[in-house]
Symmetry: C2
Subunit: 228 residues, 2 copies
């Protein structure tokens, strides 16, 4: 974090958590931790009067979230031209089974960021951003993979989205049943969920003498149960 | 599916897949399968000029997707009043590691639905919708949990979102490197990902003689590797 960066994100009328305010989080370090643990984000923007939400990979460098795609990508063109967007990252940690259907819930951590993105034109920043996206997806990978050529950089569009205005919402703990339901003969508790990596599958054209790197063999599990 | 339902969703200018058209899917059964396998959706809508994307649980009954929340939920109020929304459901199946950073990708299945929701007022439909949401979260659970009381139904807002206009996008397979990169000494392949359930954690106030139900003990894994 750059020195002088405020320790909390700006909570405006549109990003302040209104329901279940005890679940609200505005601390930058807590929000960055959600951003870092997520694998994809959902980007919402409005174009020609229609709101569209698309899943995207991303990377974070300091207080900036980078999105990338093909230079012809219509969404990045729209968002990169200064249209306001919302970037949401959600981690589901467990299913919460209450005795009553009404109190069923999920434990989750979600970050909702609102801001105006801009297209990155500086080639060095573009390279750093793309390395961050690869590194976010597979920590350790960006040092191994062949870096983008100048031609590939031109074919790639990168937008810079500020992590500035937003909030997170976090639910933890077990079911909260009404007292009169506690005697019901219905199981109650949590089913923890984790996003886990299965054994890597080598490309069919991979030369036999290329060993599986540690970062692929020991890809970290994601989720509260994994200590995330 | 109701008889007479078209086998493909309406692909309009705003929902037709523009980039990588070979990945586009419009078949209703394939889109419903993505909807059913997802756990949460991301709902985007625009209110007072700001686009917001929020994660939500959901359930599906035929060609309708139901969202629910507290009656005071601002988002459901907005969306239920006939504001157009976008509902996106994304499953990440694997990380695709190419020899070049440029060709890194993910295998995923995503459904993007656009439509105008309406608030459900009929009590019977509301009950069915809430049962569908619980059943979607934990198949088998809705028959066990105490159903909502009339008072709980009043405290809950349910909106009906039509599965009518939209598309899905699906990527499968290994990395697609440029021919001149195949000789690089860089591992390439896929890291499959799965959302798996860990052993259930009983509520601290659970009576000892209540056994863990099979649907919680054998909660199904989600992901392409799980055969999803």
């Amino acid at each position: 974090m750059a020195s002088g960066t405020p320790p909390e994100l700006t909570a405006t009328d549109r990003t302040r958590v209104r329901r279940k305010r005890d679940r609200a989080v505005y601390r930058r370090d807590a929000i960055n931790a959600i951003v870092d643990e997520g694998l994809i984000c959902h980007v919402g923007f409005t174009h020609d009067g229609t709101t569209i939400v698309l899943p995207m990979a991303y990377g974070r460098v300091g207080d900036v979230l980078y999105l990338h795609g093909a230079a012809a990508n219509a969404m990045l063109k729209t968002v990169g031209q200064g249209v306001e967007a919302c970037v949401t990252i959600t981690l589901v940690d467990s299913l919460v089974l209450a005795r009553s259907a009404f109190h069923h819930s999920m434990n989750y951590r979600s970050a909702v960021l609102v801001g105006t993105a801009e297209t990155v034109v500086d080639e060095a920043e573009k390279s750093r951003a793309l390395a961050a996206v690869v590194e976010h997806m597979v920590p350790g990978r960006s040092a191994d993979a062949r870096p983008p050529t100048p031609k590939e950089l031109v074919a790639t569009s990168v937008v810079r989205f500020p992590i500035e205005e937003g909030s997170a919402k976090v639910r933890t703990g077990g079911p909260v049943d009404d007292d009169e339901d506690l005697a019901l003969a219905v199981w109650a508790g949590q089913i923890p969920l984790e996003l886990v990596a299965r054994p890597p599958v080598p490309d069919t054209r991979l030369a036999r003498d290329i060993a599986l790197p540690a970062y692929a063999r020991e890809y970290p599990d994601r989720g509260a149960a994994a200590g995330g």
